[in-house]
């Protein structure tokens, strides 16, 4: 047999292809999947939230609370607010939550409902309130969010991811912590309906606890207009429907004939922030 040297006609080992086209097809597919998941998450929020047990919720809340614990803990203010919320819960708002108040030093005039019954109260809020009734209304409003589980819906799509991560990896895992840190909880948004329902809930609790509803709208009305609206959380001027909420509450008080009476004073030490 004679050997004749000759080059192969084609290279079978290299597919002739357009890499740019392949790149576009692959990234397009990937983006499509991501967008699909994003939409599915949005749809599944309302499906998932009612099924999240309190136990699982506490698990989800744990990563948030880690970053809050230790600040101003065990202060007189915290004891007082904790006592107030416990008496409200015991007498008038039987929610299956173990509420824990965290007083946070910040000028923000707000209180936040975190998963697992952790209520963060800013010292800015305590400085502004003048009566116990007023503070009770604010706390009852937060409890209203718990009652309707708005605090979970407020997270939007992230709550689905957090549920999955808490179920799969537990609350101590890096993934859960990462998700918790990635969320700006102070920007949790509530819809108009959610706020109204929480207001109604708070009004009932206030009436049950004190026998009258004085102080319910105090907090809304007190806020001076010249102050930066951004400093006021979801009670006040940052909500354009603020006036609407006041009139809604006033209408309710009038139509149900709820009594008004003297407000209970707040211990002076509660309003002062130690520096």
């Amino acid at each position: 047999m004679r050997y004749t040297a000759r080059e192969p006609e084609s290279n079978v080992n290299v597919t002739s292809t357009s890499p740019i086209r392949e790149f576009l097809v692959l990234t397009g597919g990937l983006l499509g999947i991501v967008v699909g998941i994003y939409f599915l998450l949005g749809l599944s929020v309302d499906l998932i939230v009612p099924h999240i047990s309190i136990g699982l919720e506490s698990k989800m809340g744990a990563p948030f609370i880690q970053s809050l614990e230790g600040k101003e803990a065990g202060s007189e203010q915290e004891h007082y607010v904790q006592g107030l919320i416990e008496s409200l819960q015991k007498r008038c708002a039987r929610l299956p939550y173990q509420f824990k108040v965290h007083v946070h030093k910040a000028s923000t005039i707000n209180a936040l409902a975190f998963p697992g019954g952790h209520i963060v109260v800013y010292t800015g809020l305590l400085e502004k309130v003048t009566s116990e009734n007023e503070l009770a209304f604010v706390l009852a409003h937060e409890m209203g969010h718990y009652a309707h589980r708005d605090h979970l819906r407020g997270f939007g799509r992230a709550i689905v991811l957090m549920t999955i991560s808490a179920l799969l990896f537990g609350s101590e895992s890096g993934v859960s912590n990462m998700l918790a840190h990635g969320l700006n909880v102070t920007e949790m948004s509530f819809s108009r309906e959610q706020e109204t329902r929480a207001d109604e809930f708070a009004l009932e609790v206030l009436n049950c606890a004190y026998g009258h509803v004085a102080g319910a709208t105090d907090f809304f009305e007190k806020i001076p207009k010249e102050l930066d609206p951004g400093k006021f959380g979801h009670y006040f001027a940052s909500h354009p429907q603020n006036r609407r909420r006041i009139s809604h509450l006033e209408n309710l008080i009038r139509s149900r004939g709820l009594p008004l009476a003297g407000r209970q004073a707040l211990p002076e030490t509660i309003r002062q922030t130690k520096n």
Binding site: A5, E7, N13, V14, L26, L30
Partner: protein
């Protein structure tokens, strides 16, 4: 934002530089393969030449290390998600093996035939535990047999 710009620049540089380098390399490979066509490289283990005709038989080898560009690595990464033929690595392996064979042939210059040729490939420059391939080394080796005229 800056991360994204860096990333896009890397992808663009990778694509342009990688494509140019690959084209040039293939041109050089094709020319040298043609020039070395007269020296056969075979995989058979024995060549049946009478002992007195064999002038020398010695080990020849050639190795080449070729890296992949940023764009192709990204493409392969995307491929890793969906599965399928990783076409962007095909030219990498092909170039490395052909270059190694050519270098082996260049080492065997003057020989009549190279027998028992083998090619080995190894991934080198792995980053820690990451499975990403930095570059590949291909090594070709065989026995160059020179016959008396």
């Amino acid at each position: 934002m800056y991360d994204l710009i860096t990333f896009l620049v890397l992808v663009a540089v990778g694509y342009v530089a990688g494509t140019l380098a690959e084209k040039r390399h293939y041109r050089s490979i094709n020319e040298r393969e043609k020039a070395l066509l007269h020296l056969p490289a075979m995989t058979m283990r024995h060549a049946h030449y009478p002992d007195d005709k064999v002038k020398s038989a010695e080990l020849v080898y050639g190795s080449a290390v070729i890296s992949i560009d940023y764009f192709k690595r990204l493409l392969a990464g995307l491929r890793n998600i969906f599965g399928g033929t990783v076409k962007s690595y095909e030219t990498l392996i092909d170039r490395a093996r052909r270059e190694a064979l050519l270098r082996m042939k260049e080492m065997a210059e003057g020989a009549t035939v190279i027998i028992n040729v083998r090619i080995e490939t190894a991934a080198i420059g792995k980053k820690g535990n990451k499975k990403s391939i930095g570059c590949v080394e291909a090594m070709a080796y065989g026995t160059a047999v020179t016959l008396r005229q």
